[in-house]
Symmetry: C2
Subunit: 495 residues, 2 copies
């Protein structure tokens, strides 16, 4: 047998890493779903050991050599894409010096841990000390990543979650959003003021909700041979493409949130389950980006899930599975899924107000990383923007304002924009789908989603990371990101 | 900080290995309990990759050096015991050359895989070809282990599961057993001939059985902060000491098996949950041996679980949790747990006939490894011994004879004796406990097991691998293995 060439060496290396990530994915899922409390210490230590092994392998000195050599090999276009993604992965995992990685890990652990109590106590003064330490390291990290990649500081952080996206484009996207969203929210709130108050239907046992959720997953063609549904405190989609683990959390007083949460996670899951099998262990075979991933969950949840047709089809399932909801009229279920109400908390926000929360966070984290504002400025700016976008003041209420999210304490900068990019991509994909297959609304109205899934599979799921995001979106829709579709979608749904 | 000395280096090494074993334990548990079918390929590959990493670390060349150096260090007695167990672990994991490990892994995978169909088809002719290949490699393995350890071939294999045990002693133990067991079985069968036929009570839903099982685990002081109960095709006790995962399998027609299975696995679990925390990541902090492990599960299942007192306390729980058993009289429950009936299948055997199955397997595998018999001789010898010990012929019925177990196809030689050693140790421990605390039977009759558990914790669980098996047993009972207690126990229970 010949000595493997550089490209083959790299492929073997990343396939090996994928197997170690598999162990991480399953044991992390177990930690969130199955593990009894007393197992946490040993689990944390085992996962830390695994992280060390993965880090050692990811930073092997031969990798840089192989990456250089592979560039002059004669590669197919798929191999070229694969090499591009291997290099991105390598660049992102080797960029930071070990002492910065360690300092960051300590600072975020401290900040996150203290935050859980400080948030409850509304104690911004104590919290900001830790957050300053985290932000200082984030700025350092961004600078190092910027130097290595040739990108700007914030763009270098974006590259971790949304490769190819840039601050300049986000400024345009959110700048435009800012011109019409607050106004639209106000109009919709006024319109909905006459809606009747929602009735209470008593308790919905978790087991009934679970059976309902499974029935809906079935309808959405979740592949139960390659995945499962469980319960965790914070819903997520984990596991590996051949074994996707989604979770939810049942509230016995209100089934509607968990149910739509399951629809959302099923969107993430179907993307994972339909990634190309032959590339699944390589970076190029993985989901394109956080924003594209979220576009799939939001396609399921927003474009499909909250559509009139889908809620009509959900209605008999709800009545069938939930004893207490057997007399719930369709109109109430629809109202649940279309109510718009400005609120303090991002994770509780509806489809229309959610982007306002993201816009605010984007603007602040961008200015923090660019050192145009300081951590100490956050509460006042938060309050100003909440008033401006949603008409709510967070003065003196930091626990429901700038202390509500775990992202910054955890050192995640550049992550928030993907939520709204996802919503925008989803609207654009839906518009392209309807343009390409004009009979889609009729089919969906009859409960036939096969055309929808076929389009997503062909244009998104099977494409994994073969193309950069812009090219993926252009190939699927004929143009790169165009937020106009999102605006159209919101106006036509809510006005 | 000073450079760590050899003993400290070794400790760090084994602590790291324990973290990797943790990942293996949890993902293997998940594979058996949670994983959907379609996840198996990727899981198998991830586990194989982990095995490679564990093997690489376990065979690092520095280990031999450190082991040598540590022997001349000034060590406490606990450290000396720790060093002894580290050396045993190192010796067992480095003994085989890589090509033999690989050949064995291929041969056993092939044999085991084909066996699943060949057994169903009663196809000894096809099966024996694969088994011959496995056995040939097992003989090679035993020879290499013998050369490296200075033990005899079979003893070197025993050392993997039951360190310190020897063929010579097993010959005595089983030789003696053979003189009285077949006769005793016959007497008990005759005595039970007049017992009434057991009634059918209809179906017992799994969920009710699960709640009953959990109630019994609670009674047996299983620590649910450090463990859980789930379902798998083959019941086992897995996980890690701070997070012990036991499993069962519910048969809706018969709750008694799964229930006593849960009692059995709870015995394994409490041993694991009560290993000394400060040593838990080192070989010396692990369970002493397969035989001692089985002594704890069999203490729970046989000494305690099938005792009159325990079954009396089980009875109201059974009636409370199982709708269909709410009128079941105590006498029937007792009869379920004391019935003796010679049968073909080891895993279905009762307490009294089980050792006959083990005796037979021990004698054959010993002679196979010592090349006194050949694989081709197995069916005839099996039939002879089954007739001699249990009065049953397996002629032409290999699927319920020598093809019933996965152990030999999987290359496990030296493992079977631990089942009966466990039963013997359990009887000896029980006798020592009653001698030390004569009020034990009274307390147990009142449902107070605290004295029992305190004794086990003090003498067995907390001792982990601090002592070799003989010393552990002597310290606990005043003598080394004495099978007379097992005979006494069986006679007093069944005659
Ligand atoms: Zn999502
Ligand atoms: Zn056992």
């Amino acid at each position: 047998m010949n000595k493997p060439n550089a490209y083959q060496q790299l492929s073997q290396h990343f396939q090996q890493l994928a197997k170690l990530s598999h162990l991480n994915a399953i044991t992390s899922w177990d930690q969130a779903t199955m593990m009894p409390d007393g197992g946490n210490q040993a689990r944390a230590e085992a996962l830390a050991e695994l992280a060390v092994i993965i880090h050692e392998k990811s930073t092997q000195p031969q990798l840089e050599e192989w990456l250089e050599q592979a560039k002059s090999q004669n590669l197919t276009s798929v191999q070229q894409a694969s090499l591009r993604e291997m290099e991105r992965s390598w660049r992102n995992s080797t960029a930071l010096p070990a002492d910065l990685v360690k300092a960051k890990s300590l600072a975020t652990a401290r900040c996150e841990h203290a935050w859980r109590e400080q948030r409850k106590a509304n104690n911004w003064q104590a919290f900001q000390v830790n957050l300053q330490a985290v932000m200082q390291l984030a700025i350092e990290e961004a600078q190092i990543r910027a130097d290595k990649s040739g990108l700007s500081r914030y763009d270098a952080m974006l590259d971790l979650y949304e490769p190819g996206m840039q601050m300049q484009r986000l400024d345009l996207v959110f700048g435009e959003l800012q011109t019409w969203l607050p106004q639209l929210i106000q109009e919709v709130v006024d319109k909905q003021a006459s809606w009747p108050k929602l009735k209470q239907y008593g308790n919905f046992p978790s087991e009934q909700q679970k059976q309902l959720g499974l029935a809906v997953m079935q309808k959405l063609q979740f592949d139960f041979k390659h995945g499962r549904l469980d319960v965790s405190a914070h819903p997520f989609c984990g596991g590996v493409p051949s074994d996707v683990r989604i979770t939810t959390r049942y509230e016995e007083e209100d089934f509607t949130r968990s149910l739509m949460g399951i629809v959302h996670e099923t969107g993430h899951a179907r993307y994972e389950q339909n990634l190309p099998l032959d590339l699944v262990d390589l970076p190029v075979g993985q989901a394109r980006s956080m924003g594209i991933h979220e576009s799939q969950s939001l396609f399921f949840e927003m474009q499909l899930g909250r559509s009139q047709a889908f809620v009509e089809q959900l209605h008999p399932l709800v009545k069938q599975h939930l004893t207490q909801a057997k007399n719930m009229p369709l109109s109430e279920l629809q109202q649940h899924y279309l109510s718009v109400k400005p609120g303090y908390i991002r994770v509780d926000a509806d489809e229309l107000t959610y982007p306002a929360h993201i816009m605010l966070r984007y603007q602040l984290e961008r200015d923090l990383i660019n050192q145009e504002i300081k951590v100490a400025d956050i509460p006042e700016l938060w309050d100003q923007k909440m008033q401006q976008y949603l008409g709510l003041s967070t003065k003196g209420n930091d626990k429901n304002g700038c202390m509500q999210d775990v992202h910054w304490p955890a050192g995640l900068i550049g992550y928030f924009p993907s939520y709204s990019l996802g919503a925008m991509y989803a609207a654009q994909f839906h518009a392209a789908l309807v343009k390409a297959k004009p009979d889609t609304p009729d089919a969906v109205a009859k409960g036939d989603y096969s055309g929808v899934f076929a389009w997503l599979k062909q244009h998104i799921w099977s494409q994994a990371s073969l193309y950069e995001t812009d090219e993926l979106v252009e190939r699927a829709t004929g143009e790169s990101l165009n937020p106009a579709y999102f605006q159209q979608h919101l106006r036509s749904r809510y006005l």
